[in-house]
Subunit: 226 residues, 2 copies
């Protein structure tokens, strides 16, 4: 099938969430990395538990809940000020270094682009602005519209609905392998942006392509339209 559009995951894929870990280390010396890991793991876990039990709460709420859990698990006192600063990082993320150049290249090739993220509209709006990626995306899709987090089919369905085409005509891009597995099962063409050299998830499904930077994504997309 010909390529009609690209849908990008946001956190970890377009936006570098590393700064969250650095601030956590400033606030909780010696515990920053561990806190950032538990925070992220719980954030994702809570989206899945809420999905399975039909107990949606938006990603900002879930992110705050996960932070509270992480601090209690590590027996760290989370002051209101520290909480505000850590949560505020989600509004101040930077883009990965290569992003702007590759997004410009894709835009120049005439490919429609969107974000498709678990984040709330407000979180995504802030992140797009803070990372200097305004102007590249035709759509910024938040699962908050359908009240189901990825990897629920209702979340992935936003892509085909928005671009009015089959999922197989959209290239889905994520650095999260679980997201790529879900998107592949759903029917997207997929490229896993394996930035950190992780093993493939053992779920009996594989992405159509694996890359390590947004340049690989752009190369693949250009290959698909020519």
């Amino acid at each position: 099938m010909p390529l009609k559009a690209i849908a990008f995951d946001a956190y970890g894929t377009l936006f570098d969430v590393y700064s969250v870990g650095a601030l956590a280390e400033d606030l909780f010396p010696g515990k920053g990395a561990q806190l950032a890991t538990i925070w992220r793991d719980k954030q994702i876990e809570y989206t899945r538990l809420r999905n399975m039990c039909e107990q949606y709460a938006d990603f900002w709420q879930v992110t705050g809940d996960a932070l509270d859990y992480a601090c209690e698990a590590l027996e760290q006192d989370l002051t209101p000020d520290a909480r505000d600063r850590l949560m505020g990082q989600y509004a101040e993320l930077s883009a990965f270094r290569e992003n702007a150049e590759q997004l410009k290249r894709l835009q120049g090739a005439g490919i429609a682009m969107s974000i498709l993220s678990n984040g709330t509209p407000w979180m995504l709006d802030q992140a797009v602005k803070a990372s200097g990626l305004e102007g590249y995306f035709d759509h910024v899709l938040s699962v908050d519209t359908v009240k189901r987090f990825k990897t629920a089919p209702e979340a992935y369905q936003m892509g085909p609905d928005t671009f009015d085409c089959d999922a197989g005509e959209i290239l889905f891009v994520s650095s999260n392998c679980w997201d790529i597995c879900g998107a592949t099962w759903f029917g997207y063409r997929t490229i896993w942006l394996n930035r950190y050299g992780l093993p493939l998830e053992r779920l009996g499904v594989e992405p159509h392509r694996i890359g390590s930077s947004l340049q690989d994504v752009a190369d693949y997309a250009v290959e698909l339209i020519t």
Copy 2:
């Protein structure tokens, strides 16, 4: 509502999965604890991803897939023999020390009891035998019957269907807080067996009771019927 029955989660709740970690340490010195943690985390993660994407595979398959992932993530060579031995541990689990006495007490009080687990019927059958807990359970319920893992409503529905009563008339027992949150949302009366002093999950829902051993569970159940 009066108490009609008790439904127990299996792994970690009735059966001690510690032996898995000990064997992992024998096989991969210095990496056993880490391997057991990644293995368990991935096992649970895969049940959720498969649930959300309607891609059921049974718990034996998922457990093996998670083991393969864990070994690759830690760059450990998993020989067929080592794989067989680690997987075989699931058929050789021991019960927690206090179990038999407390289950006997509950049986004596005339309370119907079941297991309700993600495990396959074969895995549960083996674990009940190996741990010496035969004869206590009126039903051993495996989600394999409905092809949906906990915390999906279809999995929890097996309790009320089996005992022909409301979920609120069944006491659900698990050492996994996420399982307890799911069961509480579903409508069970719940007690979280917090064996390891973990924080409560931040999901906006709380168990009806928290205990630290099966004696607390039995105390609570007896309280509910008297």
